[in-house]
Subunit: 324 residues, 2 copies
């Protein structure tokens, strides 16, 4: 059985995990632990817990429990003392308070959610993502970088403060992996933070695992504004310490009204300017757009989350790579 | 196998359930649903959910899950957005929001807590406990009655507003019971509210079950100030519609420093002035004081919750009554 490891934590990771969780593989996900916004940020600040949001998403993505448990973990309180908090975040935070260590938290959550696969925090250290922009500005905190939409200057250097040590099990997982899947996800707030944790870059470089990078569909304002596909790869390579082996990039059509929504928010489709030498293996150009979700939400207000990769389309491509 | 049903919801019910949950009986607890104070009150008001606090206590009392789950459900957040809230209350409230009905909430909570016995809300209607005092004052809301410590006037009439219909399964449970255990617990805020729910008094009166009343150790200021044991029985009989069959009353010694703490709070041991005709069966006078808890907490600050009935002592007496 092949050992497949996904790196990330956001919505893109949720989509990938959902797509491949039922394959006959040993599946794991190494989760970024630098989220500092919204419900997660408040829990971090007020209770001193590790950021639960990305872990919760991964746990639910891998869950094989009845739908009610998945709904419960994703339930967001709309008013009162808990306004804006996800139940799953509260669950992980309270569990951390009564557990002996974070492994016990994850074991308990995995038990109740019947997760098919291992959820592995990249670090157990409390740390903050920082970004130094080309214009000299330095931002500390993932949420500030994430929300810095109007920034036109590029990020020159991303780092952690304080430096964080890798979860030993994350390092071991990299070593044991046959395939590592990176992305899709916000490059600087979901993907690169994982490589910044002490020991991770070296272990990935030394790994025999093939590395697949799933290119984002759209740029992200203030973070990868104006980035082409090659820009993504260059930055990734810098923090990864090597080229990816395979790149999956969309060639499917994104509906005009969706593009218009993004244009209004200063974002646009990532232009495919990949050259053959940018990876060690293959550039896989396929339609990976989730048209079903777009159609389903046509009746509602369009938002960023409407445009996603399609779990099944990604899964088929990944199955091909696993079989290599 | 005998069918035993406990009526109540507070700490006293927790003690009784803990004592008898491992007996070879069909155990159930019919839970008061009028709590409106603290964490429970805020959740009721802000989210429109049923009051979770008493249900949580009963679920945990009956839990056979690993200690971690019990700790988690009783965990109280000490700061931040959730200050003062029990995790178990948040769990039940979020679950109510994503469930089809409250039976699903209880099934899910019972599953995860591996409860040995059935937890049955007395009603699914949203209602408030009201008390009319002899001096003419009327208070609405369980928490206001509970906190009305300085009241010297007695409660003339307790009622619900709006009137609430019994959970059909609570009525059925009464019918099927061989033994019904009432108390210990605050007479007007934990015990009598159950009899006020439409249909409950009639069903209990018509039941063939023997009724055991566990007399409180102490009076409660503003609620049963100055009450003797006979005063408790008279009020209970009024709302129950019949005499209890058996009464368990303490004759064990309560330590002087504990009595002093209560005296400072205008409360005192319930005087045993029971006469043979106050019940249909036997008056059981035994030492039922939990001396272990008192000794354990000697190092800490004394509080009301230090003095409790002893689970094991109560269990032994109840086993004798079950065998009758």
């Amino acid at each position: 059985m092949k050992t497949i490891t996904v790196l990330g934590g956001g919505t893109g990771t949720f989509v990938v995990l959902t797509g491949i969780k039922n394959l006959p593989i040993d599946l794991g996900v190494i989760v970024t632990m630098m989220d500092s916004g919204g419900s997660t940020g408040r829990l971090r600040d007020q209770l001193g817990v590790l950021p639960p949001g990305d872990l919760r998403q991964c746990l639910v993505a891998l869950s094989d429990a009845p739908e009610l448990w998945r709904k419960l973990f994703l339930y967001r309180f709309e008013k009162g003392d808990f306004e804006g908090h996800n139940f799953g975040n509260i669950f992980l935070s309270a569990l951390e308070k009564v557990s002996e260590n974070y492994n016990q938290v994850l074991e308990t959550a995995s038990y109740v959610l019947k997760t098919k696969g291992k959820v592995i925090p990249v670090t157990f250290d409390k740390t903050n993502l920082c970004a130094e922009y080309e214009n000299g500005i330095v931002l500390k905190g993932e949420s500030h970088i994430d929300e810095n939409h109007k920034e036109t200057s590029r990020i020159k250097n991303a780092f952690l403060e304080p430096q964080a040590s890798a979860n030993p099990y994350a390092l071991q997982r990299i070593e044991e992996s046959n395939l590592i899947i990176i992305g899709p996800g916000d490059l600087y707030t979901s993907i690169i933070p994982i490589m910044l944790v002490e020991g991770m870059k070296e272990r990935i470089r030394a790994s025999q695992a093939k590395i697949v990078y799933v290119m984002n569909l759209m740029t992200k304002s203030g973070q990868t504004s104006g980035y082409t596909a090659m820009d993504h790869i260059k930055d990734l390579e810098h923090y990864l310490g090597k080229k990816p082996d395979h790149i999956i990039i969309n060639n499917g059509k994104i509906p005009e009204d969706i593009i218009q929504w993004y244009t209004d928010h200063h974002e646009k489709p990532v232009v495919n300017d990949l050259v053959a030498t940018c990876c060690n293996g293959t550039i896989i150009e396929e339609d990976v757009v989730d048209n079903v979700s777009i159609e389903k939400s046509r009746a509602d207000v369009l938002t960023r989350s409407v445009l996603r990769h399609d779990s099944n389309k990604l899964s088929k491509i990944i199955q091909g790579l696993i079989a290599l």
